[in-house]
């Protein structure tokens, strides 16, 4: 087999369908002791009739080779803004693999899973302490489902008060999933413009007795703290609404500021962001939700409660929005998050936040002279540049592609939409100064290339296994499966 696209031992890889060799097998069955039958025609596939015929080692090598092309936080710096791609400590994996957790049947009776229930109870308590919310559900599968659950509770609360409110205010610096979650819960979205941060006046202009809630991300997607949040929460409450906070950026607040103390009524956590559980490779994530006391009766069931020295699942919430996820949510992720909290301790979590903010501001300070910074307010855990300072028709996409040639995963680009050609960098606390300097050196060098050798940016990546991909054609005319030629 030719591997002409291979470079050294970075091997090219064909599809399993192309590797097939008729008659080769990866199994060994005993002799057939029942009559052979041929499946009737109606049961036979008419397309892709021939599945790959390969040995076990063929298949193992195929997937192992593919895995070497993967890029993750264990391979290098992963500065995706808004995603908090922090390192996932291996001690979390060790905890999740303890057989009492890993092999526990999800339907085990309560008296046989006291340890697991205790862990969930303690995690509820710890998340409550970090956020300032008295009640926590661990059930939602990830952030967007956490938002959905939170907005369902807001709707249920209003209905229980006899309120007919069907609108939700969402600033233009919110996460993209916020409007979708609100719409999914039957609300109409009222967008509100911000000038980097949200002003009380802007909220006041759209707040009325049809508005059920404000959905805000704090710090917002520009990495800026919503400085007027307290006054804005008061305003919303005075006019009969509730405030939802997207907790995706909790890594900027943890240990320093508690959303529950600020006036937020509901917030989801992203354990796969702030609490260091796996994020790449598809997760799974976990999106627990914290609520104020008056929303407790509306939480999904079951929640874990402690009675004396025993723990049990409580289904007895009369106004519950119901179950949102099977069994106990993504339990393995809860174990990892709890392991992270215990291994860090309260002071450690606070220190992580401080370093995450310091790292983002270090990058800002090093790049500010060479890349345009559209919003000058103090950055927290991430910093957003625009493409305004780039010349010679170079754009954010070109900078991102060129970063690959320098050996860095590009940051989030073209989000948030309020910044033209956004380059959104979130280093997290995981990176050393050395790593940050190498990354900044690369971006400074690219800024210089955009002036002296712009064609390098236009062609990039030139050193990657595959060169600049035609993303438009791939999206317009996707080839979704292999077809035999």
């Amino acid at each position: 087999m030719s591997r002409t696209d291979s470079r050294g031992l970075v091997l090219d890889e064909k599809l399993l369908f192309e590797l097939t060799d008729p008659g080769r097998v990866g199994y060994s069955l005993p002799a057939c002791d029942v009559p052979e039958v041929t499946p009737q025609k109606s049961l036979q596939r008419d397309e892709i009739a021939d599945f790959p015929e390969l040995s076990e080692v063929d298949v193992v090598r195929h997937y192992t080779r593919l895995s070497t092309w993967n890029y993750g936080v264990d391979s290098g710096f992963y500065p995706l803004g808004s995603c908090t791609m922090k390192y996932n400590p291996k001690v979390n994996e060790q905890a999740a693999r303890l057989s009492g957790f890993a092999e526990l049947h999800p339907q085990a009776p309560e008296h046989l899973c006291q340890g697991a229930l205790e862990l969930m109870y303690r995690l509820q308590q710890d998340l409550g302490e970090v956020s300032g919310f008295p009640a926590i559900t661990l059930q939602p599968a990830a952030g967007a489902q956490g938002e959905f659950t939170g907005m369902l509770m807001i709707r249920a609360w209003h209905e229980a008060q006899g309120n007919k409110r069907n609108k939700v205010i969402i600033p233009d610096t919110a996460h993209g999933t916020n409007p979708a979650s609100a719409a999914l819960c039957g609300f109409d979205v009222v967008p509100v413009a911000s000038d980097g941060v949200l002003s009380k006046a802007a909220v006041e202009a759209v707040m009325n007795d049809e508005v059920a809630a404000l959905m805000v991300t704090n710090p917002n997607t520009l990495g800026l703290f919503e400085a007027d949040i307290r006054e804005i929460c008061d305003l919303i409450h005075e006019r009969g609404g509730l405030v939802y906070c997207d907790g995706a950026n909790l890594n900027a607040l943890m240990g320093i500021s508690r959303p529950g103390d600020i006036g937020i009524d509901v917030m989801h956590f992203n354990l796969h962001k702030t609490f260091s559980t796996p994020h790449g490779g598809g997760g799974p994530g976990a999106g627990p939700v914290g609520v104020v006391e008056k929303l407790r009766p509306f939480m999904p069931v079951p929640i874990v409660v402690k009675e004396g020295e025993r723990y049990r699942l409580d289904y007895d919430l009369k106004q519950s929005v119901g179950r949102v996820k099977g069994f106990s949510g993504h339990f393995g992720i809860l174990v990892r998050a709890y392991s992270y909290i215990l291994s860090m301790g309260g002071e450690g979590l606070k220190r992580a936040t401080e370093l995450a903010v310091l790292n983002a501001n270090y990058i800002r300070a090093r790049l500010e002279g060479s890349y345009d910074l559209p919003f000058k307010q103090r950055s927290l855990h991430e910093v957003v540049f625009s493409e305004a300072a780039l010349e010679n028709d170079c754009h954010t996409l070109d900078v991102a592609k060129r970063l690959i040639d320098y050996g860095f995963h590009p940051p989030t680009i073209y989000f948030p939409l309020v910044v033209k050609g956004a380059l959104m960098i979130e280093p997290t606390e995981s990176e050393s100064k050395q790593n940050l300097d190498e990354f900044c050196d690369a971006l400074l060098s690219i800024a210089e290339e955009s002036l002296s050798k712009p064609e390098l940016l236009k062609q990039a990546p030139i050193r990657a296994k595959v060169k600049r991909l035609d993303e438009a054609t791939a999206a317009r005319k996707p080839k979704l499966r292999w077809v035999k030629e």
Partner: protein, 127 residues
């Protein structure tokens, strides 16, 4: 960039061409340039009732997903059914092949509230 004089324009970067009581709607040259290569278009159905300022459909490019807003109120009487299969027409021909929908106007007077080409050009230069 081209902004034909016979069209009216919105702050959300839609254009409108009114002939009799039918308004043809699309997105402007500026909008397609900002979006970049458009890869997906979602349009309303014939018979849908549109309300000014409410989303009528979605345009997705390699960079971003954006709502397209109804510049005027009325009933959808025709949609460009070729567009979902060839979304690149929004980039190559935003004012002709890339038209999106035709609306039977509820109130022809509404069109007077929209910008003319000169005002729109001034608007995007300020922005």
């Amino acid at each position: 960039m081209d902004f034909p004089d016979e069209l009216k324009y919105t702050e959300e970067h839609e254009w409108v061409l009114v002939e009799d009581e039918i308004a043809t709607v699309g997105i402007t040259d500026f909008a397609q340039d900002q979006l970049g290569d458009v890869v997906f278009v979602e349009l309303p159905e014939v018979g849908d009732q549109l309300e000014t300022g409410k989303p009528l459909g979605v345009v997705e490019s390699v960079k971003a997903v954006s709502d397209v807003y109804a510049p005027v109120s009325g009933e959808v009487v025709e949609v460009n059914s070729d567009l979902p299969d060839e979304p690149e027409m929004l980039n190559t021909s935003p004012y002709d092949d890339g038209w999106m929908i035709k609306i039977k106007l509820d109130d022809p007077g509404e069109v007077e509230d929209l910008m003319d080409a000169a005002a729109y050009q001034e608007f995007i230069e300020q922005d």
